[in-house]
């Protein structure tokens, strides 16, 4: 274990149990209502790098048995030492070995199929990806946005996301098609979280 510089480190949840349970509840709601923007309320002093909602989510989910891959701009930042200190998770160099993946907004997202996909017998062994995005919200008719359908969605959910790679939709279609394998996704902004389980299918709406 390397020696960390703790002088700039922020605190975790003021109450470890209640704090992580509250965020876990939000994550659960986000995955059971794909595409719905969830507000993440927490009192952790999140690191400067990365989106705070993503940091809080990982703080709640990770423990010392988890492996985490961080995109280049996060790997050397205070976010890495913050998560290492508070959760004890293991940072890995190879994205395909990680159970959790966190990609910062400016970094290039590795292809979704390069992450751990699980197997047909153990689809739960696939990676959970947290992607930082610039902003997201309920799509309006005047802009191009996603129409989401699938389990957990009554009719259709509208979602507009800003800050994903151009070919994301085709990658997601492949991810969706490989069910039961495939990764589950969380999109995070400053204080919002959107869950995209592998069962959700994305169509593009017209816009003007």
């Amino acid at each position: 274990m390397s020696v960390q510089d703790l002088s700039q480190l922020g605190a975790g949840f003021s109450h470890e149990g209640f704090g992580s349970q509250a965020v876990f509840r939000v994550a659960l709601d986000a995955l059971s209502h794909p595409g719905r923007c969830m507000l993440v309320l927490h009192d952790a002093q999140t690191p400067l790098a990365g989106q705070p909602a993503a940091a809080a989510l990982l703080l709640a989910l990770l423990d010392s048995d988890c492996t985490l891959w961080l995109s280049p701009s996060l790997a050397g930042s205070d976010a890495a030492s913050w998560l290492r200190f508070h959760t004890g998770c293991q940072l890995v160099e190879q994205a395909d070995q990680a159970m959790f993946v966190w990609v910062a907004a400016g970094d290039e997202m590795p292809a979704l199929d390069s992450f751990s996909q699980g197997s047909d017998n153990e689809p739960d062994q696939s990676a959970t990806c947290v992607l930082d995005v610039a902003q997201m919200g309920v799509g309006t008719d005047s802009q191009k946005h996603w129409l989401l359908t699938g389990p957990g969605i009554q009719d259709v959910t509208h979602l507009a996301v800003d800050g994903l790679p151009a070919d994301f939709q085709s990658q997601w279609a492949a991810n969706h098609a490989s069910f039961p394998r495939g990764v589950d996704l969380f999109l995070a902004t400053q204080n919002q979280l959107v869950g995209l389980p592998r069962t959700t299918s994305i169509q593009l709406s017209g816009g003007l």
């Binding site: 703790l6 002088s7 700039q8 480190l9 922020g10 605190a11 975790g12 003021s14 470890e16 200190f85 508070h86």
Partner: protein
Amino acid sequence: MFHSFDNVEATQPIARADWMALLSRAPLDLLESAVGTHWPAKPNWLRAPETGLMMVQGRAGATGERFNLGEVTVSRCALRLSLATPEVGVVGVAYALGRSHRQVSLAAVADALLQDPTQKNLLEQTLLTPVRLHLAQQRSQREQAAQSTKVEFFTVAREAGAPDEDGEEV
């Protein structure tokens, strides 16, 4: 339990790892008298005091294969202390055997204070030296207790020239 650097000369500057090792074995009353007054009104926890189990490993004769000796109860904490010199504040970390949260919190405060050059000399006298003394005492008591059970083995030398019991020549 005891380390070679416990008896280090006071003239030598002490490294952080060494004083942390001393603090983790410092009894509560010594910590309370030395740093009890520095206890912040509202501690800024990075990691609030928590108690858990840790696996202790040993080596037979200190050289053999490593094996799991057993689990011990350990408390740990980390806090940030606002000091005059570094503006960001320094972080004190402490681990100690047992379940005393007060003990481990005060040890973390002492660790933070020892990183401040202006406080270090004073604490060296009021805390580290007494802790070394306490550990030396503990050690000598333990050695005495062990000494009383010492058994001396010796063999009586055979008379020269006597044949071996098996009849072989030695």
